[in-house]
């Protein structure tokens, strides 16, 4: 089975606000999809729906052939998710927290310990393994969040702003980690750092006001000119259209 995510006509309305308005795309194994867009464009809302946290107002989500809406648990098993801000239980240590996540994902005994050890190793958490999460720096907290997302070696990885708030070295490490895992997985990450797209992604989608306004490879995107200008052009064009509608 190859990993694949398919999203069709996905919408989420909060009252009158159309946070996501008819988004469709498919991501194949080996692709690293960068999700770009201004704040409030619907990036996080889309990710929350794909991971099964929010029920969409309309549309369909398929994760490696499993329907997220009709039968969420098998689909959730295949996903590793880093929510925005990398939330974790502050009174636990990374060791306890990762052990909990491994347990909730159904690992027991030696397998449970093995997957925790492996994740700890991949994100270099050894030195803070037995410190309470609330005492950790932002960089380490983010790594704890990454560790819980990858510990079951999921075919689908969804990362909401994985490098937000990290220093340049840490950003580099996380990008290396993502690149290293990309071959066997579907990876979707959101960012508003434009150079991140060129650094790790094989494909970029820009969304604005709940719509996909651009879907290209980073190379094609670069051919259009400076990334900042392209971004401003496509997002403001839609803003104007939205204002006149």
């Amino acid at each position: 089975m190859t990993a694949k995510i398919e999203i069709r006509d996905l919408s989420k309305h909060f009252g009158d606000l159309k946070a996501v308005d008819g988004i469709s795309f498919a991501v194949e194994q080996g692709e690293v999809l960068g999700f770009l867009g201004p704040n409030g464009a619907g990036k996080s809302t889309t990710m929350k729906m794909v991971t099964g946290f929010l029920p969409p107002t309309a549309g369909a989500i398929s994760v490696c052939g499993h329907d997220m809406l009709a039968d969420p648990l098998p689909a959730k098993r295949l996903i590793g998710y880093l929510p925005e801000g990398a939330p974790a239980y502050p009174d636990m240590t990374p060791a306890e927290f990762l052990d909990f996540v491994a347990g909730a994902r159904g690992f027991r005994g030696a397998a449970r310990q093995a997957c925790v050890d492996q994740a700890v190793d991949r994100v270099n958490l050894d030195e803070v393994l037995h410190q309470r999460i609330e005492t950790l720096s932002k960089g380490f907290k983010r790594r704890v969040g990454l560790a819980q997302a990858i510990l079951h070696d999921p075919p689908v990885l969804i990362l909401d702003e994985p490098t937000d708030g990290l220093d340049p070295n840490q950003k580099h490490e996380v990008r290396e980690l993502i690149r290293g895992m990309a071959a066997g997985k579907v990876i979707i990450l959101s960012t508003h750092i434009l150079e991140e797209v060129a650094a790790v992604c094989t494909r970029a989608i820009i969304i604005d006001r709940g719509h996909v306004v651009l879907d290209e490879t980073p190379a094609a995107l670069a051919a259009r000119g400076r990334l900042d200008d392209v971004f401003r052009e496509v997002t403001s064009r839609d803003t104007r259209a939205g204002a006149s509608a």
């Binding site: 089975m1 990993a3 909060f14 929350k48 991971t51 099964g52 946290f53 929010l54 648990l73 098998p74 959730k76 098993r77 295949l78 996903i79 998710y81 929510p83 925005e84 801000g85 939330p87 974790a88 239980y89 502050p90 009174d91 636990m92 306890e96 909990f100 996540v101 347990g103 909730a104 994902r105 159904g106 690992f107 027991r108 005994g109 397998a111 997957c115 819980q148 079951h152 070696d153 999921p154 075919p155 066997g184």
Partner: protein, 254 residues
């Protein structure tokens, strides 16, 4: 491709959540402070207000009589954090995107909180020993009373968990839970029944009286382990837990 998970049964996953929650009480001073205050207040109520020694009877009536009022403030204090903390810190997003069903999440959290109150309640065992040293009480009645107290605590918790699911704000969760629990207590008091008497039918009056915690709790404390009293608490618990699950589902996005 991911390793096939070994155990994903409902009970197994509920157990994992249960252990995490229960541990979290002891990871902070919450468990210690709560146990200390509960025992301290229970002592004051039993010996001063209840006149444990003055009554000269070898039973625990004065001890159990005040539990509804102790729970009224202490249980919402435990329950208020159950879901509102998860929502506020964003960990609810993590929890509910794990392959964990809503019922396992609700049950795991609730059972951990209930187990914690059972541990606190068990810490009152010295008074049981005391009354056995001083006289020869009916230990069957005492067991029934402990059962009643535990069932009532669980019902308070289920109410508090549901209210906690409705708000991110723990203070609001606390106050609203206290009020709802208060209504369930006072429904059986003569002053409330007197208020309704005369302008509602006897059937309605019976329903109001029957819905009170006190009516059912006092029966258990007298040693009457009637299945109906036990079922009353269990069905209320189930109702509030289901309502809580619905509340989480509808409010988690906000």
């Amino acid at each position: 491709m991911s390793t096939a998970p070994l155990a994903t049964g409902f009970l197994s996953v509920t157990g994992v959540l249960f252990r995490r929650e229960l541990k979290s009480y002891f990871a902070t001073p919450v468990a210690f402070v709560f146990t200390f205050i509960f025992l301290f207040l229970a002592g004051i109520f039993t010996f001063y207000l209840g006149g444990f020694f003055e009554r000269g009877q070898a039973d625990l009536q004065p001890f159990f009589a005040y539990h509804p009022y102790l729970y009224l403030f202490l249980i919402p204090a435990i329950a208020m954090r159950l879901w509102s903390e998860e929502r506020k810190s964003g960990t609810i997003e993590l929890l509910l995107t794990l392959p964990v069903s809503m019922s396992a999440a609700v049950l795991g959290k609730f059972l951990a909180a209930w187990c914690f109150t059972a541990i606190v309640l068990a810490c009152t065992f010295p008074i049981w020993i005391t009354v056995n040293v001083l006289g020869s009480p009916d230990n069957g009645v005492i067991v029934a009373s402990y059962l009643g107290s535990l069932l009532m605590a669980g019902t308070f918790l289920a109410i508090g968990a549901c209210v906690s699911a409705l708000t991110k704000n723990q203070v609001i969760a606390f106050v609203v839970s206290v009020v709802v629990c208060f209504l369930f207590i006072v429904a059986g008091l003569p002053v409330v029944l007197g208020f309704f008497e005369g302008w509602v039918s006897q059937d309605v009056l019976d329903i109001i009286a029957m819905s009170s915690f006190l009516t059912h709790y006092e029966a258990l404390v007298r040693g009457v382990v009637d299945v109906r009293n036990v079922l009353y608490f269990l069905s209320l618990m189930a109702f509030w837990l289901v309502a809580g699950a619905v509340a989480i589902d509808t409010k988690k996005a906000a």
